[in-house]
């Protein structure tokens, strides 16, 4: 019951919080546009007056695509380099927004104001940044711990009685293991933020330990909720897949339609994220003794 109740409560919150959803959507879109506008300009410059891509929307042409990407590759390298920095900058922005999001969730249906949101963002930024760095580090350690033995197993088997099917099975099992442990790390990080937020304390490591214990003790509640929320994302992806297939390779008006659909899907995705965060936050608030002293 805990799960469904908080799942529905989180849904209610996310539907009412359209202003917050729109704000998150705009921040992401702005970050994206900073990259895309010069990218578009560089592509336009590369193709120039050539007609090579004119019929690309009617049918894919490998030759035209390859020659364009080759001619574009030097400029592309600059963008690939920038994407790394953009992701880093985005991480800081996302961490910054988290405090505001949690503040809005705690106040439940209270009216959204930019001032209160910004204040909360500033208050929690440094502590949440520490949590993110710990989680990032643990993700790297996890990847190393999982893939190192897996690659040794693969290498050993590869030189002996290995078949393609067993290669597939080994990689699949490793991926599932990585996903399960990785999602646990994600939950540890997320619930650490809730612990800090609810306790209003600064001890990040103590909060992390507390969150780990609570998550592991209540894994039968935490993990199904996480999976339930994951299903939302998968369903949205499926809807998007079929919509995109129906739209095809858009140019002109169909491109406008594609763009509007994409943005609507992304707006919904932000709403799902809020649903996920709110549901988990409400669930965690009901755990016995979720605070650190």
């Amino acid at each position: 019951m805990h799960i469904i109740k908080n799942y529905l409560r989180g849904a209610r919150f996310s539907i009412r919080s359209w202003q917050l959803v729109t704000l998150l959507y705009l921040v992401h879109t702005l970050l994206g546009l900073v990259m895309v506008l010069p990218f578009y300009s560089a592509m336009k410059d590369t193709i120039g007056p050539s007609m090579a891509l004119e019929n690309f929307h009617e049918s894919f042409q490998y030759t035209a695509w390859t020659e364009f990407t080759r001619n574009f590759s030097q400029k592309m390298q600059v963008f690939v380099g920038i994407i790394g920095y953009a992701l880093l900058f985005s991480l800081f922005v996302q961490v910054f927004l988290k405090g505001g999001i949690l503040a809005m969730i705690r106040e439940d249906y209270a009216r959204f104001t930019l001032k209160r949101f910004a204040e909360a963002c500033g208050t929690w930024f440094m502590r949440f940044l520490q949590v993110s760095l710990i989680v990032l580090l643990l993700h790297l350690v996890l990847a190393f711990l999982i893939w190192l033995p897996a690659s040794l197993i693969l290498q050993h088997q590869f030189t002996h009685t290995f078949t393609g099917q067993s290669l597939f099975r080994t990689v699949l099992i490793t991926l599932i293991l990585h996903f399960m442990l990785g999602s646990l790390l994600f939950l540890f990080g997320e619930y650490t933020r809730y612990t800090l937020f609810l306790s209003d304390k600064t001890g990040v490591f103590r909060a992390f330990r507390k969150a780990v214990v609570l998550v592991l003790n209540k894994i039968y509640l935490v993990y199904p909720l996480f999976l339930l929320l994951l299903v939302n994302g998968i369903l949205l992806s499926l809807v998007w897949f079929f919509l995109q297939k129906a739209t095809g390779f858009g140019t002109g008006l169909t491109l406008l339609l594609l763009f509007l659909l994409q943005q609507a899907v992304f707006w919904l995705r932000n709403m799902l994220r809020l649903w996920l965060t709110a549901s988990q936050f409400y669930l965690y608030s009901e755990f016995p003794n979720p605070l650190i002293s």
């Binding site: 050539s50 007609m51 030759t63 035209a64 949440f128 990032l136 009685t161 140019t251 994409q262």
Partner: protein, 662 residues
């Protein structure tokens, strides 16, 4: 020429088996008995070589390839050139099983004249004293022109763990380049030689093989659970006193003999006309057997029409296990290795592509028997050209390799892009020894550029003429080891017959540039200009009267149109330029492509809206087709679509990061 005639004179007197005349001169035939020790991965064998001096020379020595010694240590020429890597896989130097070698324990003439002590390693290509892939054997008495010589050879071959083409992996064996193999004594006149000589190169990282035709009779002894496929036809199968199987194969008119063994093979037998087809496939790949067989039979159909029907009685296709994939994608007479992985999607036609490619080698490496090392383009290039033609013919142009709704790739375009995508396409010409290609240019130039060159030639002279060229070349030169100049002579002859002097006195200008030269071809449509012009001023004589222009009424505006083309590369090709006007009309202009720049001018009421260089995509050697068109009204739909999708991807990328890290 005299020596060529001498060589040809062997045809009617060669051994006749099963009542059929021999297809080739049987210059070097082998009778080999070999036993495979599956514990030690060692072959112990005896070979009886029967060689006929095909030249007018008196030959005082023999030269043999000992290919397996390329894997003897890291100092062999093969290992040094390859950096002990092959197709991206590195040799495990610390593992003693990585290495392979061949020892000749006895070599003698009948009557016990021992030659063993006279054997000397030589390094005719690079002088590397650590390379033991070629030996020279002085004969006590020289072999006179046309005379036969028999040599008995005992040898031991330790198979390496599969690195390049040959060896073992687990219980899978691909036994190739495994016995002492005689080099080719080329008579004067053959392949442009001024005088007779041994052609017996060391084993190089990029080089493949070249040998004389002969009859191979090979008996192999190995444990009974092993399933075997080989060059030729199995003519005997018995169990010996040790309960091992003894299998005997016979192959006529072939230049090599390879075989495979594994207890895990599933064997699927099929038929193409009178040819027995054997597919030795991994159990986990049996679902793909239909794909292999369809590709193989399609290639056999195509070659039968384009050149001649496959002349041998059998063909064996080997599907190696995943751990032995290094043995995949290799060609031997009547025996090819392909390759796939479990779950290969139907729309990814890599097994088909490799099967067609390797089968095609039977015509170029096997029947024409060109020199794969010295003139790789004649084998790999021509074969890649046919591979692409067959792939595109059978599976569809622009979708024969990858065939997904929004991503599809054709074989011919893939060949071209393999060449045009080189970092430095000027690095070398395709016509050079395969081990002399610098910095990895071998594949792109001898496969991709050579195939693209032939496609461009076909587009220039027309498909019927190209078909006649290939058919004439094949019929004239099958089983005779042609050289590059022999092919070009056929091209010149057929083009002249069909087109007169339309392309000049001959096609040498084409081959000089793109085969023997390393220049690049790139034409660019530099600009299209439309300028409104004032009506003419002054006075003109009309019917003997002087009339001022201003008294002539112009009902329409006048424009000066210009199309400017630049030749950016060194290679000169004849071109067409299609120019479209705003009234829907168009003109096609012809340019010989010789000058650095060319200009088209038109004055009138029409405005040019776009121009396209080489509108039918004939000059596939043009490195950059993107600059072959120019429009005054560019449509940006495609890149706008990409930009919109890029934004969507970035939004999600930021979002996913936010979920997992923030």
């Amino acid at each position: 020429m005299k020596n060529i005639l001498l060589l040809l004179s062997f045809l009617p007197v060669t051994q006749v088996i099963c009542g059929q005349a021999a297809l080739s001169p049987h210059v070097a035939s082998y009778d080999i008995r070999v036993e495979l020790n599956t514990e030690k991965h060692v072959l112990t064998g005896t070979a009886l070589l029967n060689w006929t001096n095909p030249s007018a020379d008196t030959v005082g020595e023999l030269r043999f390839h000992l290919y397996m010694n390329a894997f003897k240590n890291s100092r062999s020429t093969f290992m040094k050139e390859s950096g002990s890597r092959f197709r991206g896989t590195a040799a495990k130097k610390e593992d003693p099983e990585t290495w392979g070698w061949i020892d000749i324990t006895r070599m003698s003439l009948p009557g016990s004249t021992d030659l063993t002590s006279a054997i000397r390693f030589i390094q005719p290509d690079d002088g590397n004293p650590f390379d033991q892939t070629v030996i020279r054997v002085p004969l006590p008495e020289p072999v006179l022109p046309g005379k036969k010589l028999k040599v008995e050879i005992d040898f031991i071959t330790k198979l390496p763990k599969i690195l390049a083409r040959t060896g073992y992996s687990g219980d899978f064996y691909l036994v190739a380049q495994w016995f002492p193999k005689l080099g080719v004594y080329e008579p004067a006149g053959m392949r442009g030689n001024e005088k007779g000589r041994w052609n017996c190169h060391q084993f190089h990282a990029n080089s493949e093989f070249y040998a004389d035709f002969g009859i191979y009779r090979v008996s192999m002894t190995l444990p009974p659970e092993y399933r075997v496929g080989a060059t030729g036809v199995r003519i005997d199968s018995v169990m010996n006193a040790d309960s091992n199987q003894v299998l005997t194969y016979l192959a006529e008119d072939v230049v090599d003999f390879a075989w495979t063994a594994s207890p895990r093979f599933e064997v699927i037998n099929d038929q193409w006309n009178d040819v027995s087809v054997h597919l030795m496939i991994q159990p986990e790949h049996t679902g793909q057997a239909r794909r292999y067989l369809h590709a193989l039979k399609s290639a056999m159909d195509y070659f039968a029409e384009a050149l001649e029907p496959y002349p041998y009685p059998s063909i064996t296709v080997v599907d190696p296990p995943l751990h032995g994939l290094q043995a995949g994608g290799m060609e031997y007479p009547m025996f090819i290795t392909a390759g796939t992985v479990a779950g290969m999607p139907e729309r990814v036609r890599l097994p088909e592509s490799v099967t067609i490619h390797e089968f095609g080698h039977n015509y170029f490496m096997g029947i024409l028997a060109t020199h794969e090392g010295e003139e790789a383009w004649m084998d790999e290039g021509m074969n890649s050209y046919f591979e692409s033609k067959i792939m595109d013919h059978v599976y569809g142009e622009q979708r024969s390799i990858y065939d997904f709704p929004r991503f599809h790739v054709g074989s011919a375009e893939n060949q071209r892009l393999g060449y045009t995508g080189m970092r430095n396409p000027r690095i070398a010409s395709p016509a050079r020894f395969s081990w002399e290609f610098p910095h990895g240019g071998y594949g792109s130039l001898s496969y991709n550029k050579a195939a693209t060159m032939l496609f461009t030639l076909e587009n220039l002279v027309g498909r019927p003429t190209m078909q006649e060229i290939m058919k004439t070349y094949y019929r004239r030169w099958k089983f005779k080891h042609p050289g590059g100049e022999d092919f070009i002579r056929v091209v010149n002859e057929v083009v002249r017959k069909n087109h007169g002097t339309r392309f000049g006195e001959n096609m040498n200008w084409f081959f000089d540039q793109v085969l023997f030269g390393s220049g690049i071809c790139d034409y660019k449509l530099a600009s299209v200009q439309v300028k409104r012009i004032q009506p003419p001023a002054g006075i003109e004589e009309v019917g003997g009267n002087k009339v001022t222009y201003r008294n002539i009424e112009y009902s329409e505006e006048l424009y000066e149109n210009r199309v400017i083309i630049h030749r950016l590369g060194d290679v000169v090709m004849p071109l067409e330029v299609k120019i479209d006007f705003d009234d829907g009309s168009s003109v096609t202009e012809y340019w010989d492509g010789k000058e650095e720049t060319w200009e088209y001018r038109h004055e009138g009421s029409r405005k040019i809206v776009r121009a396209v260089l080489d509108p039918e995509n004939k000059i596939l050697l043009d490195l950059n087709r993107q600059n072959n068109s120019f429009t005054l009204h560019p449509r940006q739909g495609t890149i706008r679509n990409w930009a919109v999708n890029f934004l969507f991807i970035l939004q999600h990328l930021f979002h996913i990061m936010a979920i997992f890290l923030a």
